[in-house]
């Protein structure tokens, strides 16, 4: 097990992209955890400086339309993106894995029904639906996590299922059955570890998706006003006419952070795929 991890790390480390991604993510995690110590001002406090003041020594990223410090908002904003991104990805991956495992392992009519449901969920336009939910139930951060989790699982289910389908036919599963192992034992003790790589890759790719979706929702004004997020900063900037004011510092850095964090997870996912799929490694 440990040796397996060590070899995986060896392949992972070879990819500059993957290591870079990991570093980006770690920096943002540090930012989120240490926010109260890093932020020079209270992010929610108005008029700590003049309106729309450009970057200066006092305000390294300037101030917004209400005279709030942009850098402090950016630092606190990392919390929302990370919490929503990771928690939702976990919920979606858990649901997807359960559906995929059951569907792939038991097959038959259960598989048929579950895959039908998966197909339906895949065709429902997700973003407008999330916006509609936020409109009705209020853009509370837990609601957003719940909606993204409940509707984000189908791609995971598909991948886990196809992996299980091929594993099910292997000799070792047959041997387990011949030995009289119960379904529960085969699934949880033997199959689950074999799909753990796929599951990990899915957590990462779902996180990318959710970070972008959350930022998008906030950008449309459907986010929790009590928690500052990067998308929300851009929403306020656009509403207060920051573009025409030439106040690029109120929206460019916030979007850059969304892009960087999403890229970080994308690159990490790329690295995980390299470890999982030897064919991608190149000669």
């Amino acid at each position: 097990m440990l040796r397996g991890l060590a070899t995986s790390w060896k392949y992972f480390r070879k990819s500059k992209l993957a290591v870079g991604g990991l570093i980006i993510i770690l920096i943002f995690i540090f930012m989120a955890v240490a926010a109260p110590y890093l932020a020079p001002y209270d992010p929610q406090k108005s008029f700590v400086g003049p309106m729309f003041s450009p970057p200066s020594i006092k305000h390294p990223l300037g101030t917004d339309d209400a005279g709030r410090d942009v850098l402090s908002q950016i630092i606190y904003g990392s919390r929302i993106s990370l919490i929503v991104g990771l928690l939702t990805a976990a919920v979606a991956t858990l649901l997807g894995t359960i559906v995929g495992l059951l569907s792939g392992y038991f097959g038959g009519s259960l598989d048929e029904v579950l895959m039908r449901i998966t197909d339906i969920f895949l065709t429902i336009p997700f973003i407008p639906l999330a916006i509609l939910f936020a409109l009705y139930f209020g853009p509370n951060i837990w609601n957003i996590i719940l909606i993204f989790g409940l509707f984000g699982w189908p791609p995971v289910a598909r991948q886990v299922r196809s992996q299980i389908l091929s594993l099910r036919e292997t000799l070792f599963v047959e041997a387990l059955r011949a030995l009289g192992a119960s379904d529960k034992r085969v699934i949880f003790i033997h199959l689950l570890p074999n799909v753990s790589g796929i599951i990990m890759a899915n957590v990462v790719s779902r996180t990318v998706f959710v970070i972008l979706a959350e930022a998008g929702l906030a950008f449309l004004g459907a986010s929790d006003p009590r928690n500052i997020s990067w998308g929300m900063m851009i929403f306020y900037a656009l509403r207060s006419g920051a573009v025409i004011q030439g106040a690029w510092w109120t929206y460019i850095p916030a979007g850059l952070c969304v892009a960087l964090l999403a890229c970080g997870f994308s690159f990490l996912g790329h690295g995980i795929n390299l470890v999982l799929n030897p064919r991608l490694r190149g000669r």
Binding site: P125, L132, Y136, G216, G221, G231, L238, G255, V258, C263
Partner: protein, 327 residues
């Protein structure tokens, strides 16, 4: 083949009804009277609004049982009666959406065509020169572009090309107040306003399109007939485009049709950046003004666009691929 299509159609009908059920259930899951979500509480209470209120209660059966309401609701949606907008009171939601939809379709279709053509070309070349610098750069850019928020990209373009170097308009779909002298004037004005939104959407999809084409091409390049073509001494360009790319076209086309619906949701964000008056901007307006009927209507219309583009993908796949057609 017919069996496959029928299965798909049944699937799409279920999807459509599932969305209708969700949209129907949402206001009824919340405490309070569902009528509150149909009839604006913020708009002036005058004679028209009282009349309209009575009409809405009547047509959606808001004083009847939930089952009756459900059937009335389905009937109303299917017959194009989608309620009354709050923000654009007393405008009918269906009419409102149909007025805005062409703008969305315009930028989405334009960017789809451009991205398709460029992606086809670049993907083919990348696959041909697999492992080259060109190919590696494309892959890295593809990975990056998937992580870029479309609205942020749009904002950067807007800041540079409309604010600092004002060669394009800051927003809108046509110059307001301008009387167009001829049709060409009008077309020019429309395209001029569409440039930045279309470029933004294209950047978002282009790299992914190119990568899809590249990966399909690589599979085709492994086939024996490519080796035969090369052994016959055909020119490289001919083998590349006539033999290989053509065979990679089909999965590419189906993939692109399927992503059409996704692009419409992408357009939502881009429209907001450029104040482009499509259904995306309308969706944001309805979120901000808590215009429930319009938001619901947009959900339904986007679902329909998803379903139609997926179905066209199914159709092209079954009709164009003889291996599927003959089965």
């Amino acid at each position: 083949m017919i069996g496959y299509l029928v299965r798909r159609i049944i699937n799409y009908i279920i999807v459509f009804f599932a969305v209708l059920v969700i949209v129907f259930a949402l206001p009824r899951l919340l405490p309070g009277n569902p009528a509150d979500y149909f009839i604006s509480t913020t708009f002036p209470i005058g004679e028209t609004s009282e009349l309209l209120k009575a009409q809405l209660i009547e047509r959606f059966g808001l004083n009847k049982t939930v089952t009756e309401q459900f059937f009335l609701y389905i009937g109303n949606i299917l017959s194009g009666y989608w309620g009354v907008s709050w923000r654009y009171f007393p405008k009918d939601v269906f009419t409102l959406i149909m007025e805005r939809l062409p703008w969305t379709l315009l930028i989405v279709i334009l960017s789809r065509v451009i991205s398709f053509a460029l992606g086809y070309l670049v993907g083919t070349i990348a696959a041909w020169k697999r492992g080259s610098k060109f190919d590696i750069v494309l892959q890295a850019l593809g990975l990056t572009s998937m992580s870029l928020p479309a609205f942020w990209l749009g904002l950067i373009l807007l800041t540079i090309f409309a604010f600092y170097i004002p060669i394009f308009p800051l927003g809108g779909a046509i110059t307001s107040g301008l009387v167009h002298k001829s049709l060409w004037d009008f077309v020019y004005d429309v395209l001029y306003h569409a440039v930045l939104p279309v470029i933004t959407l294209t950047i978002v999809t282009f790299f992914i399109d190119a990568l899809v084409m590249r990966n399909t091409m690589i599979e085709v390049l492994g086939e024996d007939f490519i080796l035969t073509a090369e052994a016959k001494g055909l020119k490289e360009r001919i083998v590349m485009f006539r033999h290989a790319a053509r065979n990679a076209l089909l999965p590419f086309v189906t993939g692109i049709m399927m992503s059409f619906g996704l692009l419409v949701t992408g357009a939502v964000f881009v429209e907001v950046v450029f104040s482009y008056p499509g259904i995306g901007l309308l969706l944001m307006e309805s979120v901000l003004s808590r215009d429930f009927p319009t938001a619901q209507g947009i959900m339904i219309i986007i679902t329909l666009i998803f379903i139609i583009s997926n179905f066209i993908a199914d159709l092209t796949y079954t009709l164009l691929d003889p291996r599927v057609r003959l089965r």
